[in-house]
């Protein structure tokens, strides 16, 4: 969001009016009408239109931070770090596909479009992912030759808009991801504002240059799980049953959606929680629709287990993955792999303090910048401005992504070994406890120091 009143910018308020001095004066900020809320109301009154921004939910929700691992001691013994092997690979799509993906790490790159991101950013993601043997994913806008060229494993998204969708690229893809929704906006379509619809982006999407593009939220030629089954069969027929077919859902009713995706013939189910990012969506949508990643995973896993398909149809979890601990926690709750989006952009330099002055000029601050829709990203990532995009060297960016993916993987291994696990996949809910009643109920693991899992007395989901 862009603040139009300069002295209310986060940077200004943080510097000039620090909270302790205000408290010392006896001033009290309303928890209901805090400064951000006041700015939102006044912005709405000035402009008459809702706020559109990037990123996922910024509000506090129960998350992986609320879980802790029970390291091995007497009853279980740990593995030696650096000496005993802890596997990190994953096979995705071996239910029906004759050519499943075999990735070296469970950490993959989530779908982000060329259009939302610069060509250099897409190339950097491809380079980094390929270096560590994992996959990247296209987005709402088609496959670019740069991305196909740089990504060893490329997942091609099949979206409601079908921008740039064509059978040649479908055959070039390593997997196909049928997108029903994303965590930032379950029930909403894509959005790309005119500032970013350059000639190349417009050409790939068959749209006029400079329009505010609003993608459809429903697929144009199928509705519901019975149709989806026929649609998946068509995609398999077109690609001769070679490619894994993922179904991606934004987390809202993951128990039912996962079960229906399995029934419709998915090889892989991708569940994206509400902390998952977007390039442009209404703030009211991002903050108020969908459920936290933590709450989504056990529901999806339950659906898979009840159908006898856990580990046969793989589960990829995304939405707020930042550290190897988050990766390990998602795996312990039953995921087969994870996907990162926002964290990957941050690894490329998004919201870096080195751009502090430029963020300030845009009415934002490092750590707060979320105006991906504007296309003026100082870090050269969420932009189509050639001058800004040039700031991101795709080779150096690729190295940063590879470094970050390696750190996530090694951190997850560190925890898995401490829990006595020879593969990340062997982590289990029994390795976890929760710090809060809410997270215990959502993650379905006991509150630390107790055997109490709230919510297990009544109906399951």
């Amino acid at each position: 969001m862009t603040l139009t009143v300069p002295d209310q910018s986060p940077a200004a308020s943080a510097c000039s009016l620090a909270a302790p001095s205000l408290a010392a004066l006896g001033l009290r900020e309303s928890a209901t009408f805090d400064r951000a809320t006041i700015a939102d109301i006044q912005r709405a009154a000035e402009t008459g239109i809702y706020d559109i921004r990037g990123w996922g939910a910024k509000r506090h929700v129960p998350h992986f931070d609320d879980l802790l691992f029970l390291g091995a001691s007497m009853s279980r013994y740990p593995l030696e770090g650096y000496r005993e092997k802890c596997g990190t690979d994953v096979v995705l799509g071996d239910r029906y596909a004759s050519r499943p993906l075999h990735l070296d790490t469970v950490v993959t790159i989530a779908g982000m479009s060329f259009g939302a991101l610069s060509a250099n950013a897409k190339e950097a993601l491809g380079r980094g992912a390929s270096e560590v043997g994992t996959s990247t994913t296209t987005g709402d806008g088609g496959m670019t030759p740069e991305e196909r060229g740089q990504s060893r494993h490329l997942v091609y998204q099949y979206l409601p808009s079908r921008y740039g969708m064509n059978p040649d690229d479908l055959r070039k893809a390593d997997a196909i991801e049928v997108v029903l929704g994303q965590g930032a906006k379950p029930g909403g379509g894509g959005m790309l504002l005119g500032q970013k619809i350059t000639e190349r982006v417009a050409g790939m999407r068959t749209l006029p240059v400079g329009i505010d593009q609003r993608s459809a939220c429903r697929h144009p030629d199928w509705t519901g799980p019975d149709d989806l089954e026929i649609k998946i069969a068509e995609l398999r027929e077109i690609t001769d049953w070679e490619k894994p077919i993922y179904v991606k859902i934004g987390a809202s009713r993951p128990y039912y959606d996962t079960a229906l995706a399995v029934k419709a013939g998915a090889d892989v189910v991708v569940v994206d929680g509400m902390q998952g990012g977007t390039a442009a969506t209404q703030q009211v949508f991002i903050e108020n629709v969908g459920i936290p990643t933590l709450a989504a995973i056990p529901q999806a896993v339950q659906a898979l287990q009840e159908l006898g398909m856990h580990r046969k149809v793989q589960l990829i979890v995304s939405g707020g993955i930042r550290t190897g601990a988050d990766v390990a926690k998602a795996m312990a709750l039953g995921a087969d792999a994870v996907a990162i989006g926002t964290a990957a952009l941050i690894a490329l330099g998004d919201n870096s303090p080195r751009y502090a002055d430029e963020y300030a000029r845009l009415g934002s601050a490092a750590g707060f910048y979320d105006d991906f829709q504007d296309g003026r990203d100082p870090a050269g990532i969420s932009t189509q401005d050639p001058e800004l995009a040039k700031r991101l060297d795709p080779v150096a960016g690729g190295r940063r992504i590879a470094n970050y993916l390696r750190v996530l993987t090694m951190e997850a291994q560190t925890i898995a070994r401490a829990c006595g696990k020879a593969h990340l996949r062997n982590l289990e809910p029994e390795d976890l406890v929760a710090l809060t009643v809410e997270s215990a109920a959502m993650a379905r693991v006991p509150l630390a120091g107790t055997s109490w899992i709230p919510g297990t007395g009544g109906a399951g989901c």
Binding site: G48, P208, D221, I230, A233
Partner: protein, 239 residues
């Protein structure tokens, strides 16, 4: 403005491979079609409304389906000439890139959805969402079309020789629609437009390509008013 159009096939090639779907399965048919090269011909007997018939064609081949087809017949066609001697289910010729698909009967919902090119001819009626999100395809419907047709239509031409249902061309971009009969209602940002000589010329070409002799002068052109291309506070009631 382009006036070149594909046209529906006149005759099939010399040697024709026949698949009887009472005996052969759809996988066998599609595998053979994917391995085919330009000029080959296929006949599909007893299609029985099966789904995904002749999808993913990637060569200049002829396919004749003797009967009704299920969902997504000729989906993603690239260069093929497909004739369905019967009705077609949901999403016939969805995402077609080039070539022709001719349905002699009626078509269900989402005919020609998101198609980028080629020519889709439906001799009978088409149901709802005909030409939804079309991206360059030409569609000629001999009869009438259902509601929400040409929703978010981006490019290409949709010709309707009968009537159009409600909300025609809602949120249309640069596609052009020609309707001979009545339009139940127009969707957001879709308006009637003047038939200039170049439109009469391109419509004549499209009708001719579809093997029809309707008089272009009897049609009305519809397209985007382009008022919703950018967010504007004053348009909030239109969404």
């Amino acid at each position: 403005m382009t006036t070149t159009v594909d046209s529906i096939p006149v005759s099939a090639g010399a040697e024709t491979e026949v698949f009887d779907l009472k005996i052969d399965d759809v996988r066998t048919l599609n595998r053979a079609i994917h391995q085919a090269s330009d000029g080959q011909s296929f006949t599909v007997d007893n299609p029985g409304g099966k789904h995904s018939l002749a999808v993913g064609i990637n060569a200049g081949i002829d396919v004749e389906i003797n009967g009704h087809a299920g969902y997504y017949a000729a989906g993603m066609n690239q260069g093929g000439r497909v004739t369905i001697l019967g009705n077609a289910g949901v999403g016939v010729a969805e995402n077609m890139m080039s070539g022709t698909v001719h349905v002699t009967g009626d078509a269900s919902q989402s005919a020609g959805a998101t198609a980028h090119g080629g020519l889709l001819v439906i001799d009978g009626n088409a149901s709802a969402r005909c030409g939804i999100s079309m991206k360059g395809v030409d569609i000629v419907v001999g009869g009438s079309i259902g509601h929400m047709s040409a929703f978010m239509a981006q490019a290409g031409r949709l010709v309707v020789c009968g009537d159009a249902g409600e909300a025609l061309g809602d949120s249309i971009y640069e596609a052009r629609i020609y309707v001979k009969g009545t339009v139940a209602s127009l969707g957001a940002d879709c308006i009637a437009k003047e038939m200039r000589p170049e439109h009469l010329l391109e419509l004549r070409g499209l009708l001719h390509a579809a093997g029809r002799d309707d008089d272009p002068a009897g049609f009305t052109r519809y397209g985007s008013a382009r008022t919703l291309y950018n967010f504007h506070v004053d348009n909030s009631s239109a969404y």
